[in-house]
């Protein structure tokens, strides 16, 4: 005989009510797990794409919101912001720079909106600035009409080296010169073109989306940034890849806030559900609790008993909810990917792990037990004589 045994036996009195209370906490735990997985996953995916998996340390862009530009491109548009190509020759001789990659980025969306293709015009500098940009087959552009396919595009288009690819939008045929190895970045879903071909296709000769720069020594970043800024026209930005990634994550902040509001709503519903259930359980058993006090149950015995009942529900509900959340996270990541407009990272958007599961479990269990305190104190305050006389 123990307090836990008595508490568990009390839960069996109304199993449906205990189950529903546990489920309300499970919903909270699952929602929290999913949201934490998405939050952590999206941040990691964006940082991987823009910082960890690229050799780019700095970008030169035109003044304006780079996030807005990314959004325009992602939706199949052409960014109104561009930098002049001649700046490349101005900075190329700087000894502190390991590589300078000018690029032109644009996207084309089909009329029915079902597909968006991303095109990137590059020079050979891409090979030194992107460490994992390696050919699985074929090689560099052989002519102005050459195209190199990212691994995913090669799979979707079912094309091999030497095959011809027709672009209906541009009414132009390309020859596949190379296929890239999969590197789990945005490169997988990109068509790479010679820089000048890409510029001509959108009527922006001599214009670049941005210039990507790899430094010899990253500790010089601030100094180089200051020097480059001095060399550039006043309406040009020198932005670090980390700043760019932080900017995108800041843009994601609104979505993040909505997700956490959902979690908060789920918690509020659970809190009221648990308090209501435990209060009902206490009120239904007033006479029995009064009797327990008669036979020597102290205030803390009753608080312990009611808290253990709630803790048992909370542990079961939170465990189940955290497990379901872990299973649902990848699905919700795929769902979120369809609605993201600012920046869709190439890696997994939801990244569930044991830490998230434990956080969701611990927080929901804590909230569950905390909710028991009011009903438990109500039970402890029952005056046996009044209950036994009046009820």
């Amino acid at each position: 005989m123990s307090f836990l045994k008595v508490a568990l036996s009390n839960l069996r009195r109304n199993p449906v009510r205990s189950l529903l209370t546990g489920l309300s906490l499970a919903v909270s735990a699952a929602t929290l797990s999913v949201v934490l997985s998405l939050d952590q996953g999206y941040s990691s995916a964006v940082t991987d794409d823009l910082v960890n998996n690229t050799g780019v340390h700095l970008y030169i862009t035109k003044e304006g919101c780079p996030i807005e530009a990314a959004s325009v491109i992602a939706q199949g548009g052409l960014s109104p912001l561009y930098v002049e190509e001649d700046i490349v020759t101005r900075i190329q001789g700087m000894p502190e720079l390991d590589a300078v990659m000018p690029f032109k980025l644009f996207a084309v969306t089909t009329d029915d909106g079902s597909r968006t293709d991303i095109f990137m015009g590059v020079t050979e500098a891409v090979r030194s600035i992107k460490p994992d940009w390696r050919f699985a087959a074929g090689g560099w552009f052989t002519s102005d009409d050459s195209v190199i396919l990212g691994a995913e595009m090669a799979r979707i288009e079912y094309l091999a080296v030497g095959d011809r690819m027709y672009s209906e939008h541009f009414d132009r045929e390309f020859v596949v010169s190379g296929l890239l190895e999969r590197n789990y970045s945005q490169d997988d879903g990109t068509f790479f073109l010679p820089l000048h071909t890409a510029q001509a296709m959108v009527g922006r000769e001599g214009k670049l989306s941005a210039v990507a720069i790899k430094l010899n020594d990253i500790s010089n970043m601030d100094y180089i940034q200051t020097r480059l800024r001095a060399m550039m026209p006043p309406d040009y930005f020198i932005i670090g890849s980390k700043e760019l990634s932080d900017g995108i994550l800041e843009f994601f902040g609104a979505t993040r806030a909505i997700m956490f509001v959902m979690v908060a709503v789920a918690f509020v519903i659970s809190v009221f559900g648990i308090i209501n259930t435990m209060l009902m359980a206490v009120l239904e058993r007033r006479r029995e609790i009064a009797y327990l006090k008669c036979v020597g149950a102290g205030k803390y015995d009753l608080i312990r008993l009611i808290s253990l009942e709630t803790a048992a529900i909370a542990v079961m509900g939170s465990t189940f909810g955290a497990a379901v959340g872990m299973l649902l996270s990848p699905l919700s990541g795929n769902l979120l990917r369809k609605f993201l407009v600012a920046y869709v990272p190439s890696g997994a958007i939801a990244r569930p792990d044991m830490g998230i599961a434990l956080t969701a479990f611990a927080l929901c269990t804590f909230i569950g037990v905390a909710c028991s305190l009011y009903p438990a104190f109500r039970a402890a305050k029952i005056v046996p004589m009044e209950v036994l006389r009046n009820e």
Binding site: M1, V6, S9, E288, L292, K293, V295, G296, G298
Partner: protein, 222 residues
């Protein structure tokens, strides 16, 4: 007043507020119960019997007067002190049995021992043997008759070996055969030295008690 009393009430009054009205449930009651006594408290409904039992059982405090239980001054005790006193000195039996429906008979009996930190299934089993339910240890309360449930409640009231047993209408819900069985158990306990105080309307029970205390309008009538 007898200094060897196990229960001693000295000029005890108890007033309640009911709306704007003050109810005088007990008026200047003095009573001493010595160890090993078998007392019936009788009176009409509303005469103050239950209030008297609640005060004797430390479930309520008097408005005025002194209560000494098992040698300890009740009015000096904190709420926690009264709880400890109830645990060690008093066993309660009510008209309703208050058994926990999801615990077995054995677990119900040993439940009060949990609150003293010494859960004892062994003693619970012995007590159930004593009340004739040794073969029903693992049954649930809903598998028992009313008389059996009251016998479980009696066994439970004795788990912490209290010197005093307070019973409020213990046979009120039972037929005459079961009521007789319960009274025999009380008599046996009394013979073993337990002080038994029974609040009742039942004249058959009153006749079997060795002392009768009649209460009317909150006063003990001699």
């Amino acid at each position: 007043m007898n200094n060897g009393s196990v229960i001693e009430l000295e000029n005890v009054s108890k007033d309640y507020r009911r709306g704007s009205e003050t109810v005088h449930a007990l008026r200047d009651v003095s009573l001493a119960v010595t160890p090993g006594e078998y007392v019936a408290v009788v009176g009409h409904s509303g005469s103050g019997k239950t209030t008297l039992m609640n005060i004797m059982g430390c479930l309520d405090r008097p408005s005025r007067g002194r209560v000494i239980l098992d040698g300890q001054e009740v009015h000096e005790k904190t709420e926690a002190g009264l709880t400890r006193l109830r645990r060690s000195a008093i066993g309660f039996v009510f008209q309703q049995f208050f058994l926990i429906p999801t615990l077995s008979v054995l677990e119900n009996v040993s439940l009060p021992s949990l609150f003293v930190g010494k859960p004892s299934n062994g003693r619970a089993g012995e007590l159930l043997e004593m009340v004739g339910l040794g073969n029903r240890l693992h049954h649930l309360p809903n598998q028992l008759s009313g008389g059996e449930m009251q016998r479980v409640a009696i066994a439970r009231s004795l788990i912490n070996a209290p010197p005093i047993l307070l019973a409020d209408e213990p046979t009120g819900n039972l037929d005459s055969r079961n009521a007789d069985m319960i009274m025999k158990i009380f008599e046996q306990l009394n013979q073993e030295g337990v002080t038994v105080v029974v609040v009742t309307h039942n004249q058959d029970i009153v006749k079997r008690c060795r002392r009768k205390v009649h209460i009317e309008d909150g006063r003990i009538e001699t």
